[in-house]
């Protein structure tokens, strides 16, 4: 019998999580790892490994093929460019303390698309192949240039069979024209809600009257774009929001999922929020939040989830959850989505735009006029997968995890820092540790939330396999 290599990691309570390269996993104990390492597997061990897809007899047999299929299915497939982030203006009517983007004051000049820039962007979109497009409007505050948004949307609706638009907006200045624009069924709103009014005011509006205005505007937009609004809070660990109030705010918004976003280290936020470097504190905060919603869901029968943790759970259990571009493997850059900055420069991600704007490293990958510079892109993509990383190859979470070269460059100015020293790795190890402990938990409170998050009627034993051989001889 041939056993595919198993990676393992001890969870906090002495149990061991094991997985193969295809991401098929199980829970066992140290004595199994010893038997595996010392080639003393018992018949029960071997039977389990065969049954759970970790072994095969010959390369021509079904067990070998199904392993190959499972491995392949774990790989994110890129594809045609169909998601483009546009920045029609860098001007903004707020100055959030953790702003991660390059911004200019609302009254500044020279920070909007010129008519020529608009024409160039439309020409770029025109030349794309395919019949679908998703456009995300970023800024600055894109609604300051509703005319440009309308021009792009009108163009895309005519050019593509299916088009979808996301406006990333602070909802600070909303009039009849903006409401009308956001009321279209192909147009979605993405905004930030940091908590109750005082939380939202602390870093964003910095003026209670403006915060009040924001919540009024949010209400107005909810009336015309119900079901098409997603909001997320940005968390400052030095002044975290009251969690219960945060949860109630999102419940009132009708969202059953909150994406807790740490203050981003890219862009300008790093100067004012040193806590953004401390991954341990973030992990603790995140886990506390998850524990809180698990308790609350059990009490209320509710279904509130933390978006990113749910994504991690789904990625552990099954392949194919590659829709979130920040967590997939390979996470090819400049492939199925990219950013066109206000000045027409192309970036693989919004974060890459920030890193470049603050002069840390030039991560541009071309211009809208001349297209993608494939040589530059290839240099970045050499680091856009985790299969061969000397740390990741030992990690049982590697098949579910991803990689973020832009974050590594942003934080450390280099790509070759050992992965286990990076913020990305520290955050994801903690996330997957938590996800694993939850998946194997038989606690009814945990299972209630898992059922909601995974949309399953029950969490049976066998969903996450467990193997022990209590009869195995010990040394």
């Amino acid at each position: 019998m041939n056993i595919w290599p198993l990676r393992f990691r001890e969870l906090a309570d002495g149990r061991v999580f094991l997985a193969d390269d295809a991401g098929t996993f199980f829970l066992s104990d140290r004595s199994f790892v010893d038997r595996y390492g010392e080639d003393r597997l018992t018949t029960r061990d071997r039977d389990f490994l065969l049954a759970n897809g970790h072994a095969f007899e010959t390369e021509s047999e079904p067990a070998y093929n199904s392993f190959a299929w499972r491995w392949s299915a774990r790989q994110a497939k890129g594809g045609r460019l169909r998601y483009v982030i546009l920045v029609p203006t860098l001007r903004c009517n707020l100055a959030c303390t953790y702003c991660q983007v390059s911004r200019a004051p609302e009254t500044a000049r020279g920070f909007d698309w010129t008519p020529e820039a608009l024409a160039q962007v439309l020409g770029y979109l025109e030349a794309l192949s395919g019949s679908e497009i998703k456009i995300e409007f970023q800024g600055g505050e894109p609604l300051l240039r509703l005319d440009l948004l309308n021009a792009v949307r009108d163009f895309c609706r005519a050019r593509f069979a299916r088009s979808e638009f996301v406006v990333c907006t602070n909802l600070q200045s909303i009039g009849p024209a903006e409401l009308d624009f956001l009321s279209a069924s192909d147009t979605y709103v993405s905004t930030s809600v940091d908590g109750v009014l005082s939380d939202h005011d602390r870093h964003r509006t910095q003026n209670p009257a403006l915060a009040k205005q924001f919540f009024e505007n949010l209400g107005a937009v909810r009336r015309v774009a119900a079901g098409r609004i997603s909001a997320l809070p940005t968390i400052d660990l030095d002044q975290p929001p009251d969690l219960d109030a945060l949860i109630r705010t999102y419940e009132d918004l009708g969202q059953n999922s909150i994406f807790l976003r740490p203050v981003n280290y890219q862009g300008f936020a790093r100067r004012r929020h040193p806590a953004a470097r401390d991954v341990g504190r973030w992990n603790q905060f995140h886990e506390n939040f998850v524990r809180k919603i698990i308790e609350r869901n059990y009490q209320t029968g509710g279904n509130l989830g933390e978006y990113y943790l749910t994504l991690c759970l789904k990625r552990m259990l099954a392949p194919g959850h590659d829709g979130h571009v920040d967590l997939r493997n390979p996470g090819l850059l400049g492939d199925d989505y990219l950013v066109i900055d206000q000045d027409g420069v192309l970036y693989p991600t919004d974060e890459a735009r920030m890193v470049s704007r603050i002069g840390l490293a030039d991560l541009s990958i071309g211009t809208v006029a001349h297209g993608v510079d494939h040589q530059r892109l290839a240099a970045l993509n050499g680091a856009a997968f985790n299969h061969l990383d000397p740390d990741c190859v030992h990690c049982p979470y590697q098949p579910f995890c991803g990689v973020d070269p832009v974050d590594d460059i942003s934080r450390y100015g280099r790509l070759d820092l050992p992965k286990h020293l990076t913020w990305f790795c520290g955050r994801h190890l903690a996330l997957f540790d938590l996800a694993a402990r939850l998946l194997f938990s038989r606690d009814e409170m945990v299972q209630h939330s898992l059922r909601q998050w995974l949309d399953l009627p029950e969490i049976p034993i066998g969903l996450a396999p467990v193997h022990y051989d209590p009869t195995a001889p010990t040394r």
Partner: protein, 344 residues
């Protein structure tokens, strides 16, 4: 031959058109040929594609234009003898592929054609030829081939790949992950081992696979193990159909020993569905009346019973779910079936 009540806008050489009706007899004609059918229901025959055997004086309906359930029985022979077989096999050797090819060419646009038996792959060469020709000629059609997957070999992978596999679904029964149990259910020793190899060949060809599992007393407790097995070993399957027993053929003969009242004991089935859905398979429930399913599981149910073999019980008329419920087979034995059927 296509029976028409009036000439078609796009006539074919196989059309015959209604020219006369009299007591219990419909007369069709075309190009000097004449066909009398003992029926007085011309509307129900309009557009039917039929196979005529003049020597035997029989007319066999192959394709109904407005049905979603057109299935061609390509052989009655089978190398398995499943304990619940709804269509028990016999040994008669006949092969009508030549005529079926003509018939399907006449099928209405976007039809789904089922291929069943017996075991269709006993006539593998003819089957692949049939699918190959129609795949080229009729890109609008889709096929569902029901096979026990006992007769595919490594050399068939290339032949399968040459087909338009995106339009063909292969329905393959797997009853248990323990080979012995599966083999006992299908009445053939070594069947499970052979089945695994064939599934592997289908996967390597890129075929779309539906795993089908009839739920009986023989495999009920091991359904969760089967779910885990499929997640690990047949992850390439598009769907997993879990089916209640049909009280016909051997299913009727063995009903009392095979039927599980899943309304009474849903445990193993529920666990199997949750394991499968959680690990990336797409489970579906066939032939389960909605009122016998726990509410959280109803979303997996498909109203699956073909129109011509479906019925509802008298009590169903008071049920608000009837329009989305598949109901019961015509031959469902109420006195020996589900204990908990009740309107909601």
């Amino acid at each position: 031959m296509r029976l028409l009540s009036a000439p078609a806008p796009s006539p074919t050489m196989h059309d015959v058109v209604l020219v006369g009706t009299e007591d219990g007899k419909l007369s069709y004609a075309a190009d000097g040929r004449r066909l009398d059918v003992a029926s007085d229901d011309a509307p129900s025959l309009d557009g039917n594609i039929v196979l005529l055997s003049p020597a035997r004086g029989t007319l066999q309906r192959l394709i109904r234009p407005n049905s979603a359930h057109n299935t061609l029985l390509v052989t009655e022979r089978c190398d398995q003898l499943c304990v619940m077989c709804s269509q028990p096999p016999n040994t008669a050797e006949w092969n009508l592929f030549e005529f079926y090819l003509q018939a399907v060419r006449l099928a209405p646009r976007d039809a789904v054609i089922g291929i069943s038996g017996g075991e269709p792959t006993l006539l593998l060469d003819d089957l692949l030829n049939f699918l190959s020709i129609l795949g080229e000629e009729r890109p609008d059609l889709r096929f569902h081939v029901l096979t026990n997957a006992q007769h595919l070999t490594a050399t068939d992978v290339g032949r399968l790949r040459a087909l338009h596999l995106d339009r063909i679904e292969w329905g393959v029964p797997v009853y248990a992950s323990a080979g012995g149990v599966h083999d006992r259910i299908v009445g053939k020793s070594g069947a499970f081992e052979r089945l695994q190899r064939s599934l592997s060949f289908l996967a390597r060809a890129g075929a779309r696979i539906e795993i089908r599992t009839v739920v009986t007393t023989m495999n009920y407790q091991s359904l969760p193990a089967l779910a885990s097995y499929l997640a690990v070993n047949v992850p390439f399957a598009e769907t997993w159909a879990l089916m209640q027993l049909e009280n016909i053929g051997y299913g009727r003969l063995n009903w009392n020993s095979l039927f599980i009242d899943t309304g009474e004991d849903f445990g193993p089935l529920g666990r199997a569905i949750a394991i499968a859905a959680g690990r990336g398979l797409v489970p579906r429930l066939y032939n389960f009346p909605l009122c016998t399913l726990p509410k959280a599981y109803r979303k997996f149910s498909v109203a699956s019973i073909s129109d011509w073999k479906q019925k509802y019980l008298p009590t169903c008329s008071q049920c608000s779910l009837q329009s989305t419920c598949g109901g019961f087979f015509q031959w469902y034995p109420e006195d020996r079936g589900f204990g908990g059927v009740k309107p909601e």
